[in-house]
């Protein structure tokens, strides 16, 4: 591992983070994770299923509490802060499986995400960004009438609308079709263009997403196996389950 990946400020620092679940017996999910995400970085965490990636994302957002360790955000200890407090400090989080709400409209969710009143035109911009025809969706309820793919895109739009310093996406590609997958790459690229100091942390094992990463973290069995620049880490992943080609996964040959 290179001595210093992060010149400049470090936005997020995880120090000795461990996490366990207690079912019939305790099971360790994450063991002594040390990870730093610098300002303005696009970091992808990859690794096999069950490696603890999603748990790590939830710990950063405050949805899960680590059994030990410290989380610093902009130098401040946020280990014991609530989800709300972390959101207000500038941590955004996109669910892997977005939640449905009866009666709450897409525009309501975007308004909440922005944290104040916004014009319909502004709200529509976020929907257009994720490839949804805004006019058709802005007044739709975020309920079972939306398909999984539509819901996922709306989820991403709400995270865009927060303009968080650090946006965490848990498998953003899961459940969306090939077209929106291409669009997703553009979404991340636009986010980086819009604010070069904000960082993006993505849980994914899609090669295309890994291809635009500044840094790649490989997680397996609850521990970091590799962390380095894309150039350093990606070649060793190609052809493994940690860097899946989107066409292979979707049955191949569609392009």
């Amino acid at each position: 591992m290179p001595a210093r990946l992060h010149k400049g400020k470090s936005m997020l620092e995880l120090k000795d983070i461990s996490f366990e679940v207690h079912e019939e017996q305790s099971k360790s999910i994450l063991k002594d994770i040390n990870l730093t995400v610098g300002d303005g970085k696009f970091v992808v965490i990859t690794g096999p299923n069950g490696s603890g990636k999603s748990t790590l994302a939830k710990i950063i957002a405050g949805i899960e509490q680590p059994v030990s360790g410290t989380i610093l955000f902009d130098g401040r200890d946020i280990t014991h802060l609530s989800v709300t407090e972390r959101a207000k400090l500038g941590i955004g989080y996109a669910f892997q499986n977005p939640v449905r709400f009866k009666g709450i409209k897409v525009r309501d969710l975007i308004r909440i995400a922005v944290g104040g009143n916004i014009s319909v035109a502004e709200a529509c911009n976020y929907l257009s960004e994720v490839g949804l025809c805004a006019r058709n969706y802005i007044d739709r309820e975020v309920n079972a009438s939306l398909s999984g793919g539509e819901l996922k895109r709306i989820e991403i739009a709400t995270v865009l609308a927060r303009k968080s310093k650090l946006s965490v996406f848990d498998e953003p590609e899961a459940g969306i079709d090939l077209w929106s997958f291409r669009n997703l790459i553009e979404v991340f690229e636009h986010m980086r263009e819009a604010n070069g100091n904000n960082s993006i942390l993505v849980i994914s094992h899609q090669e295309r997403i890994l291809n635009i990463a500044d840094e790649i973290v490989v997680l397996a069995d609850g521990a970091i196996r590799a962390h380095g620049s894309r150039e350093q880490v990606l070649p060793g992943l190609l052809g493994t389950g940690s860097a899946v080609n989107v066409c292979d996964k979707m049955g191949g040959g569609a392009l």
């Binding site: 949805i63 609530s82 709300t84 959101a87 955004g92 709400f101 009666g103 709450i104 709400t158």
Partner: protein
């Protein structure tokens, strides 16, 4: 009218003053303002028990407001209002009752509304209930609604009771002729130790009649709700009822679906769901910066919107 009555009026009928069109405003047991129009005639029943409303054939794009406000503790009244609506009408009727009870005695308003609707008319009926005041006297509302829909007529009913009513027994019955359609949207929230019972008995008597009764409710604290919806299909017809409830705290909810098919071409559906707010919904809204409490309110408000 005093300030409390004006506030109640605003809550139940969105009225800041005297409305446009026809109206009858009842305050503390008396009619305090009334206006009939060319198409809508309001008269007191001779025995003083309520009003008769007659809407002429072909009265279109008109509105009628008949709010009731009670601000005196201990007042109990039963009011009978009858609506005779002609053919080919298109009207909006806004009813509703607000009770403010700061005293120790119970205040009660039992409003019985009967609708006799002719052919091919379109009625929108909005009824809001609201209670306020911190007295120990209960605020009780027991509305009864009877609807008879003539051939090809449509009635859309919006019934809302969100705050402050301690006890409600609501009974709605409807008889539909051929091609008539009834759509009911009920929204209810109970808290404290309130109790609310809402029952429907819809008879689909004519070919092609159609009923859709939808209730969304939230029961909080120690409150109790019972939703009892019965649709009988007596002809080739379509009926649908839906009861969707959020349960919170130590509340209790009983949903009693009843479908009765008396004709082979009656197509009847009932859906009922009771559940607490999903933890993930709260979490999602917290990641957008809301506190847990704000998230809960947001989910409830959306659900009852």
């Amino acid at each position: 009218m005093d300030e409390i009555q004006k506030r109640l009026l605003m809550e139940v009928a969105d009225l800041h003053g005297v409305p446009e069109g026809a109206y009858n405003i009842r305050a503390n047991g008396q009619s305090v303002a009334r206006n009939s129009t060319a198409g809508i005639d309001i008269t007191s029943k001779t025995d003083g028990s309520g009003i008769d409303i007659r809407i002429k054939d072909g009265t279109r794009n008109q509105s009628l407001h008949i709010p009731v406000v009670l601000s005196k503790s201990g007042l109990k009244e039963t009011v009978y209002n009858d609506f005779y609506i002609g053919d080919d009408c298109d009207v909006v009727i806004v009813a509703g009752c607000g009770i403010d009870n700061c005293g120790v005695q119970d205040s009660e308003h039992d409003g019985i509304h009967r609708f006799f609707v002719g052919k091919n008319s379109k009625i929108k009926y909005v009824e809001k209930h609201y209670g306020s005041g911190d007295g120990t006297g209960k605020r009780i509302l027991n509305p009864g609604t009877e609807v008879t829909l003539g051939e090809g007529s449509t009635m859309e009913m919006e019934m809302v009771q969100i705050k402050g009513v301690d006890s409600t027994v609501r009974s709605t019955t409807a008889n539909l002729a051929a091609g008539a359609k009834l759509v009911v949207h009920e929204r209810l929230m109970t808290h404290g130790s309130q109790s609310a019972v809402s029952s429907y008995d819809v008879q689909l008597n004519g070919a092609g009649s159609d009923a859709d009764v939808i209730s969304r409710s939230v029961a909080r604290d120690n409150s109790y709700q019972k939703f009892d919806a019965k649709i009988s299909g007596n002809a080739p017809c379509a009926g649908h009822t839906e009861c969707d409830s959020i349960i919170m705290d130590n509340a209790r909810i009983l949903a009693v679906p009843q479908l009765e098919a008396n004709n082979i071409d009656a197509s009847l559906i009932h859906e009922a769901a009771i559940g607490k707010i999903a933890g993930e919904q709260i979490t999602k809204l917290m990641t957008l910066g809301l506190t847990e409490k704000e998230a809960e309110e947001c989910i409830i408000n959306g659900f009852l919107a």
